[in-house]
């Protein structure tokens, strides 16, 4: 019971608080800005065609309604919450009859597939390589690995992706330039292999950067854990090094790593904006980018809300699984 009261309840409260603050900020930003989104949208709509004053007024009314800008600011706030709790993010403004929900549903599968795979691959490879390099820090391969990954790590992601794209599709055309897959969707070999071929390069660009980060982190953790008494004792007892590393060392460095894995899986819902734009991959990031270009402000808000809820929920789940990973939390 004390676990529930002292551990789980505060985490749940924190989750509610994160979502509350996030939604409130998302609500306030458009209203604090000096630009009125309705007038801006009107300006865009009437730029190419002249409307009669009555039509403009009617349009203005319906836009105000759509944006949820009617009534006092408190009324708007409660309406906003009611719509969110019903899971209704409103219509998209550029592809009008489509709702934001439907557009997100169309693209989220692509993003989850790409980012889920590459986050997990990068996490595993960075963790294993980093622990190996941290434990055997005097070997030549560990130095080579460390130096090369530390050079790669600070390169801005956009530039890394761009260079990969230029090299492997333009100068050496090994991979297709754009898109998520060819042919009709289905469980046929040709379709699945084309999906893999199309997503290989975006995945590679994410994996490189993320692996380098995970490598640096897990190497630091392992080398500080290496000087612990239990490791020295295990070495004196002549346990095989492989066993020391994989059964004792890595297990003890696991906690922050699992936290990070959970958080980066939660960040998937944000979409990989730059990745998807650079590689024209049809996921959430591309949808967001198109929304940015066409000022589809409802869509941007939908993706923002989705990513806030995604990351808050991920961090809640991570917190709630701590007791399973770490007995110290369980028996506090």
């Amino acid at each position: 019971m004390t676990l529930l009261k002292e551990y789980i309840l505060p985490r749940l409260l924190q989750w509610v608080l994160v979502i509350f603050i996030g939604v409130t900020i998302t609500f306030l930003i458009p209203r604090l800005s000096p630009v009125n989104p309705v007038d801006q949208a009107l300006g865009r709509l009437t730029a190419f065609q002249s409307l009669s004053p009555e039509a403009t007024l009617a349009l203005r009314e319906s836009l105000l309604d759509l944006y949820g800008l009617e009534g006092s600011i408190l009324d708007q706030y409660f309406n906003f919450w009611r719509r969110i709790l019903q899971g209704d993010l409103g219509p998209s403004f550029t592809s009008f009859p489509m709702t934001v929900n439907a557009m997100i549903r169309n693209s989220i599968g692509w993003t989850i597939g790409l980012l889920g795979m590459s986050v997990i691959i990068a996490w595993l490879s960075g963790l294993i390589l980093g622990s190996l390099a941290g434990y055997f820090s005097n070997r030549w391969w560990s130095r080579v690995l460390e130096n090369s990954l530390i050079t790669v790590y600070p390169i801005p992601y956009y530039i890394l992706a761009f260079v990969l794209l230029m090299l492997l599709t333009y100068y050496f055309p090994i991979f297709p330039l754009v898109g998520g897959g060819q042919g009709t969707p289905g469980f046929t070999w040709s379709y699945i292999s084309s999906v893999i071929r199309h997503s290989f390069l975006p995945a590679l660009s994410i994996v490189i950067g993320a692996t380098a980060f995970r490598f640096i982190m897990s190497k630091a953790l392992t080398s500080s854990e290496k000087s612990s008494d239990y490791v020295q004792y295990a070495e004196l007892a002549a346990l095989p090094k492989r066993k020391i590393l994989f059964s004792y060392l890595i297990r003890n460095t696991m906690l922050p790593q699992v936290t990070d894995l959970g958080l980066s899986l939660g960040a998937i819902f944000e979409g990989a904006l730059i990745t998807e734009v650079v590689f024209s991959y049809p996921g959430i990031g591309s949808t967001l980018y198109n929304a940015i270009i066409s000022a589809d402000y409802n869509m941007i808000m939908g993706v923002t809300l989705l990513s806030i809820v995604g990351i808050a929920t991920a961090s809640l789940i991570v917190d709630l699984t701590y007791p399973f990973f770490d007995p110290r939390v369980r028996y506090r």
Binding site: Q14, V35, I155, P156, Y170, T304, I311
Partner: protein, 287 residues
């Protein structure tokens, strides 16, 4: 000063990083001697590859890439500097106050800070920038980045203050009759300054990354020169497809160099801050 001397002597990565940043600083200073105004179009022949006359070539709008780059680096660093200044001031103040006051105030602020750490910043920045489209000046961008980047530093300062408050010399100071303000300024601030330095560097990295990202998406002030807008206009005039890669390579190389320079300085600072490596260095010095 002693810190910098030590770092220069013992840390090769700090030496390289400092050299790179000095080079960047020279570029910034050069921007004041530019023969062209920053937005002076058609000042030179268009689309020339790098040559003796135009060191880094010229753009499709007839601007000299080298002089454009000096303005871009200056503006990007100014944006990052303002963002860092705002973000760190909020972070340091809030962290120190909640660390010293403690109690219920501390609990409330900590959970708010924790929420802000979790909330993703890129979508928020995009939302703000897309609503303010075209009206967001570089200064506005800097203020916005600063306002979004304070939560994590604030948490770190709070942790530092909490540990400093329990140290022996704090109690000695209190018993010796020093008032709180004096203890904070004379005894605790010197411990926080190295952390502040490391933090400022990571803040620079964050702000530069966001500036470039936003500009590449076409969401920042596209009329002024910055590293991001140079890449944006390079893409806009199809520099890649028409094989005028020098227009893109210059800003990309500049941003990589700046980021690597800051990064080297930051890893040498953080290894300097780590007491274990400092001990190792002291032993080297004794020998």
């Amino acid at each position: 000063m002693i810190v910098i001397r030590d770092l220069l002597r013992f840390s090769p990565s700090f030496r390289i990083g400092a050299c790179i940043l000095m080079g960047v600083l020279v570029l910034v200073v050069l921007s004041f001697f530019s023969p062209y105004a920053p937005d002076d179009r058609r000042a030179v022949p268009r689309n020339r590859p790098p040559s003796g006359e135009f060191i880094l070539g010229t753009t499709s709008t007839g601007q000299d890439v080298f002089w454009m780059l000096t303005f871009a680096v200056r503006n990007t660093l100014i944006v990052a500097g303002i963002a860092v200044l705002i973000g760190r001031s909020i972070g340091v103040l809030l962290g120190m106050i909640s660390g010293y006051v403690g109690g219920a105030f501390d609990r409330v602020t900590s959970s708010i800070v924790d929420s802000f750490i979790v909330i993703p910043r890129l979508p928020l920045v995009i939302l703000i920038a897309s609503i303010l489209r075209g009206q967001l000046s570089l200064l506005g961008l800097a203020v916005m980045l600063g306002i979004l980047d304070w939560a994590y530093p604030s948490k770190r300062y709070r942790a530092q203050i909490l540990s400093l408050r329990e140290r022996e010399f704090t109690h000695t100071g209190i018993f010796a009759g020093m008032n709180t303000f004096k203890i904070v300024v004379q005894e605790h601030l010197p411990f926080l300054i190295p952390f502040l330095l490391a933090d400022v560097v990571s803040g620079f990295l964050f702000a530069i990354g966001f500036e470039v990202t936003l500009a590449v998406l076409g969401l920042s002030d596209l009329d002024s020169q910055s590293i991001g807008t140079m890449i944006y206009w390079g893409n806009y005039y199809q520099a890649l497809l028409t094989n005028r890669t020098w227009v893109l390579i210059a800003p990309i190389a500049a941003s990589v160099v700046i980021v690597v320079g800051f990064y080297l300085v930051s890893i040498s600072l953080s290894s300097y801050l780590d007491p274990r490596t400092r001990l190792a260095r002291l032993q080297v010095g004794v020998k």
